[in-house]
């Protein structure tokens, strides 16, 4: 057979298979949105979940998911950023550094259920936090740290070395160079990384079912005191997130309209992830504009 003919056949096969995969994927997305969107209403988003009745909403689950992301970020961003500064600016090229890098790689490859078990063992049982938002947030921090550290380090590395040299020439200390020159320049990249990782942990469930728990007690949105047990801000209350809710509703099947609830929740999850991605893209766009200027 002539090479041209083989080439044409190969092209047709590749494009054909790609078309099939694309169709499959797009119909998947359309299915999620088409079955989910009709179930999303103001009532669905703003009423609390029902355990045995239909017509339950996802207000608490949605809030828990977002709140958990916020707490996780409060813990993990400073830690990951400082670790990234160490790896990018201070780390000498020796065995210890490569061991630390290996440790971060190992951390990023841990299955989330294993992280959840560790969180259950240490945070929930050993530290006596019980099933709580805080325990969940710490487990998510473990999942989030390696990704965030890597993206922060990448962002720091993108800043030209010349700028650091300029700072050194002015007699600035390394730390001051990092905080006054490198960090501002790398900020958009860091923020993009934070948003993307926030999207990832927003939908996490396996690490949460035994740390943040699977129940969502009644909470009071007018109680702003984080130490009051019914307050929505209290980090020590058990909190079921949206992703866990989908799993639980489907595996227990006590709610008569489980399909409607999970269709709606799945669509909300996907749309939120989409928003996170768009936001990250927009921030990335801003960097480009700033670089052109």
């Amino acid at each position: 057979m002539r090479p041209e003919k083989i080439d044409r056949i190969a092209t047709i096969v590749i494009l054909g298979l790609t078309g099939v995969v694309g169709l499959l994927i797009i119909s998947l997305l359309v299915y999620i949105l088409a079955t989910g969107l009709p179930n999303i209403s103001w009532h669905f988003l703003t009423s609390s979940a029902e355990a045995f009745k239909s017509e339950g909403g996802i207000r608490d689950q949605l809030f828990n998911s977002l709140y958990l992301v916020v707490i996780t970020m409060i813990v993990s961003v400073p830690l990951a950023l400082c670790a990234a500064i160490y790896l990018s600016e201070y780390a000498p090229a020796n065995r210890l550094t490569s061991l630390l890098r290996l440790a971060i790689e190992v951390l990023s490859s841990l299955p989330s259920v294993v992280v959840g078990l560790f969180g259950y063992l240490v945070f929930v049982l050993k530290f006596g936090m019980d099933f709580s938002l805080l325990a969940g947030a710490l487990a998510l921090t473990i999942l989030n740290l390696p990704i965030l550290t890597r993206s922060c380090e990448d962002a720091l590395q993108q800043v030209p070395y010349l700028q650091r040299q300029a700072g050194l020439g002015l007699g600035m200390s390394k730390w001051r160079i990092v905080t006054k020159i490198v960090l501002p320049a790398a900020l958009p990249g860091i923020i993009t990384g934070i948003i993307l990782s926030a999207g990832r942990i927003f939908g996490e469930a396996a690490a949460l079912i035994y740390t943040a728990g699977q129940s969502s007690p009644a909470i009071d949105y007018s109680d702003w005191n984080p130490f009051s047990p019914t307050s929505f801000l209290n980090p020590m209350r058990p909190a079921e997130t949206l992703a866990v809710h989908i799993w639980k509703v489907n595996s227990e099947g006590l709610v008569p309209d489980a399909r409607a609830v999970s269709n709606g929740s799945a669509a909300v999850l996907v749309i939120t992830i989409l928003l996170f991605n768009l936001l990250a893209r927009y921030v990335g766009h801003l960097i480009k504009r700033r670089l052109v200027k």
């Binding site: 096969v13 590749i14 997305l29 469930a205 396996a206």
Partner: protein, 300 residues
């Protein structure tokens, strides 16, 4: 007066004090992370070997036994190990060629416009939570399999389908990156020699991106191996040795997720679950090692 001046001149400056503080902060952060990894490995290992040390269950029986009946003090984990590997390999085998094909089409054949449309789409798919994939499996894959092959529809094949859907975007996006990393000059040189596009792809592009493509495959499979809830929702959760693809089974992860809440901490049946988690941990380390070996080979 002189002493004060002397002290000021010879002592550390404000700048170097700040430097010390900053260094300290970043050192502490990296030590916390390193310590965390160490703690995780140690704790899980200690809990994982408790079944063999404290409850005197033999390791060999654990790895090769086919009966998982905690009520009868039988902890044969082979069905779960087999199911975990089965669904992972199955999903990986289907996902790898398709990921490669899609990546080739996007990088080598299709126009920039389609690429611009597909890039965010793939990013979105990578970000979709695994629970949603599991739910799709429950509502779409399982009923379809039930109609096609009979039975309940829950089982290895359903789990493999869900995992396939889940890892395909990740593998595709990593493969695209690896193909993009192949220098443009290679393509030009190959075209200059009169090679067709297919010849260029098969003889130049794929060989030079080989190790990265392999990394993408291993990465996707390690994600599939460790996935818990999506699999748990469709695999059927019966801890017996599966005989066929349509048989209901249980993977390491699914047994852990269903079991941990129903057992009491410290009892043999609970320790057995931790031993399963240890297998998961060891496997994820093994996948990690594999990726390192491959990428080091590729760097040469």
């Amino acid at each position: 007066m002189m002493d004060k001046l002397k002290k000021q001149l010879l002592g550390p400056s404000a700048e170097s004090k700040q430097e010390l503080l900053g260094k300290l902060v970043s050192y502490i952060a990296i030590i916390v992370i390193g310590g965390l990894v160490g703690t995780i490995l140690v704790f899980l290992t200690i809990k994982g070997v408790a079944l063999f040390n404290n409850d005197h269950f033999s390791l060999w029986q654990f790895l090769s036994g086919v009966n998982w009946q905690p009520s009868h003090h039988l902890y044969g984990a082979l069905p779960m190990i087999a199911a975990s590997f089965g669904v992972t390999v199955l999903a990986g085998m289907v996902a790898l060629p398709l990921a490669l094909v899609v990546a080739l089409a996007l990088t080598e054949m299709l126009s920039k416009k389609i690429n611009q449309f597909c890039q965010p789409l793939i990013e979105l798919l990578v970000g979709i939570p695994s629970v949603v994939y599991g739910y799709i499996g429950l509502t779409v894959v399982v009923p379809n399999l039930r109609q096609l092959f009979g039975g309940t529809g829950f089982g290895l094949l359903a789990a493999a389908c869900v995992l396939f859907l889940m890892i395909l975007p990740t593998m595709t996006s990593m493969t695209i990156d690896s193909l993009r990393a192949v220098p443009k000059q290679y393509r030009m040189a190959s075209t200059g020699l009169g090679a067709t596009r297919w010849q260029t792809i098969i003889r130049v592009i794929i060989p030079s991106a080989r190790s990265d493509i392999f990394t993408a495959m291993v990465f996707g499979m390690s994600r599939a191996f460790g996935e818990a809830l999506a699999v748990q929702m469709v695999v059927g959760n019966t801890t017996i040795m599966p005989k066929g693809l349509m048989d209901s089974a249980a993977t390491l992860t699914s047994v852990i997720t269903t079991g941990i809440g129903n057992t009491v901490m410290g009892t043999p049946s609970n320790n057995a679950l931790w031993s399963l988690a240890l297998i998961l941990l060891i496997m994820s380390l093994a996948f990690n090692l594999l990726i390192r070996v491959v990428s080091r080979k590729g760097a040469r």
